[in-house]
């Protein structure tokens, strides 16, 4: 195997991502953990870019950095003192470690089991974003699951409204 630009970039980014993930788990302070979590998300997005799926990379950043991480910061802001130096509670790390190890083992087993195709199944079309959109909303495609997902989000919104309602 020759090491081209893609391979070197993959190795560097993957190593950085894994390092950031480890540092995030080991971080003493929850705010550091969030910043490192963002680094992990950005690393995964960079891997998507290397794979040539920039839309997935954009979604990754949009949902996880713009959504989930901001939500985590907001949660810290409104609950634990934003300026305080309280270390994060370490009660449940053992249980979390067991769950994480289980998920890791399962995924590894799956990856080793699945006969991965070595050739791309379909040739990448020029404008795959438009194709994605058409597949999602066309009647022959996935219009019903797509609409159901929006219904689910709507129910979540209603639930949040119900909880946050002033009584």
């Amino acid at each position: 195997m020759t090491l081209g630009f893609g391979q070197i970039a993959f190795l560097v980014i993957a190593a950085l991502t894994v390092a950031a993930a480890l540092a995030m788990v080991l971080a003493r302070h929850i705010f550091h953990a969030i910043l490192l979590m963002i680094a992990v998300f950005v690393g995964v997005a960079a891997l998507y870019v290397l794979l040539g799926v920039s839309f997935m990379a954009g979604m990754q950043l949009f949902i996880y950095v713009g959504g989930v991480s901001v939500l985590a910061v907001l949660a810290i802001m409104v609950t634990r003192g934003f300026m305080g130096d309280r270390p994060r509670p370490a009660r449940s790390t053992h249980g979390a470690a067991v769950v994480a190890a289980g998920v890791f083992g399962g995924l590894t087993w799956l990856i080793l089991q699945v006969p991965w195709p070595s050739e791309p199944l379909v040739p990448a079309p020029q404008n795959d974003l438009a194709l994605l959109g058409q597949t999602l909303v066309s009647r022959a495609g996935y219009a019903v699951p797509f609409e159901l997902a929006s219904l689910l989000l709507f129910v979540v919104l209603l639930g949040a409204l119900y909880i946050a309602r002033e009584r």
Partner: protein, 375 residues
């Protein structure tokens, strides 16, 4: 090897232009605001700053570079030092995709404008990093305000962004420009206005300048920064203002399109920068002329007016656009009257609702005020 050299050269150009334009724009902003406030602004007065003090910003930059960098005691050192780097990086990343001309663009990814959208949170995170690591009340307050404001104004911004995308049928910024036989601002005046207001809030200019309200919380999230670290925030702010103006010009004012641009392609960047500069001047006029809104007013304005209005616009325009298309108006110019009419309709309805709500509120207020006398 040559391609790599070209990459490096291109990135250097993309790196230098924003900084150079920020140096000029800071001078412009100071002059404009001085004129609004009936002052002269920076002027030479016999020093070496040149006529009209055009080198004033350069002198300030040199001065700021020589100043001491102070990390406050108790601050989180690594995060504190990383925040200015992140804010500048986030400000520069946007410039990669701005189309200055038909072929003059750092990169035209297929996700196009969506790239600009996903870069936005990094600026927010640099603010959060700065505000959290400073361990300072004012910085924390500034961060709270910045997060609340930016997270909420993203929504109408993205919603109004969807309309030019819908009319174009592509996310690519280049195609967005090419699709504008008419500037989208003429076809979609209300979404353009929503986008402009949301953009003003995103870059934190008056009247939405809560994150660094200098009369209340010193300088907000970057209160504790000194020297060039402060300079980084200041520069990034102006770079952000200008790049947001350029993006607005690209989305709604026709981008690099303009007279004679087909004959002389080099005119493309000139038109774009001119349009962007005009938008920037409006931002500066706001800065000079507007009062600072209270944070709850800002959030109410967003959630109760801009977001519902943007949603309504999205639905109405999508429907009218399709209807006009089915009735044979296949070009943008042919659909323009339809879309304008839809804008007018939504505008009139919004105005009516606002008037009605305002009347109701006023009646209730008056009733409360006169209640003691009635008893």
């Amino acid at each position: 090897m040559e391609t790599y050299l070209r990459y490096i050269l291109n990135s250097l150009i993309l790196l230098i232009i924003p900084f150079a334009s920020a140096l000029i724009l800071i001078w412009v902003a100071r002059k404009v605001i001085a004129r609004i406030q009936d002052r002269l602004g920076p002027n030479s007065s016999g020093s070496w700053a040149g006529p009209y003090a055009i080198f004033q910003t350069l002198a300030d930059a040199v001065k700021i570079l020589t100043k001491e960098l102070i990390v406050p005691e108790g601050a989180d050192r690594v995060v504190f030092l990383a925040a200015p780097a992140v804010v500048v990086a986030a400000a520069l990343l946007v410039w990669l995709v701005i189309p200055f001309g038909p072929t003059l663009q750092g990169m035209d990814p297929d996700i196009g404008i969506f790239y600009v959208v996903v870069i936005t949170p990094f600026t927010l995170f640099s603010m959060i990093m700065a505000g959290w690591s400073s361990r300072n009340k004012y910085a924390s307050l500034g961060t709270f305000r910045a997060v609340a404001q930016i997270v909420s104004y993203e929504i109408p911004q993205f919603l109004s962004l969807l309309l030019p995308i819908m009319l174009t049928g592509s996310l690519s910024l280049q195609r967005l420009v090419l699709a504008q036989q008419l500037p989208f601002a003429l076809v979609l005046p209300i979404p353009a206005l929503i986008y402009f207001l949301a953009m003003t809030a995103e870059v934190g200019r008056l009247p939405f300048e809560q994150a660094e309200a200098d009369a209340e919380i010193v300088a907000g999230y970057f209160t504790e920064y000194s020297g060039m670290m402060f300079g980084a925030f200041y520069l990034a702010e102006f770079i952000n203002n200008f790049s947001a103006s350029l993006i607005f010009a690209t989305l709604f004012l026709g981008g690099w399109r303009g007279p004679w641009v087909e004959q002389i392609p080099a005119l493309g960047p000139v038109w774009l920068v001119l349009k962007g500069f005009l938008v920037f001047l409006v931002l500066m006029l706001f800065w000079g002329a507007m009062p600072r809104l209270r944070i709850d007013h800002i959030l109410n304005f967003n959630w109760k007016l801009l977001t519902p209005l943007a949603l309504a616009m999205l639905i109405v325009i999508a429907w009218v656009n399709r209807l006009a298309f089915d009735l044979g108006a296949t070009t943008l110019a042919a659909r323009a009257p339809w879309l304008l009419l839809a804008n007018l309709g939504v505008g009139v309805v919004t105005w009516g609702i606002l008037r009605h709500v305002d009347r109701g509120a006023r009646r209730r207020r008056d009733a409360q005020r006169f209640e003691p006398f009635l008893e």
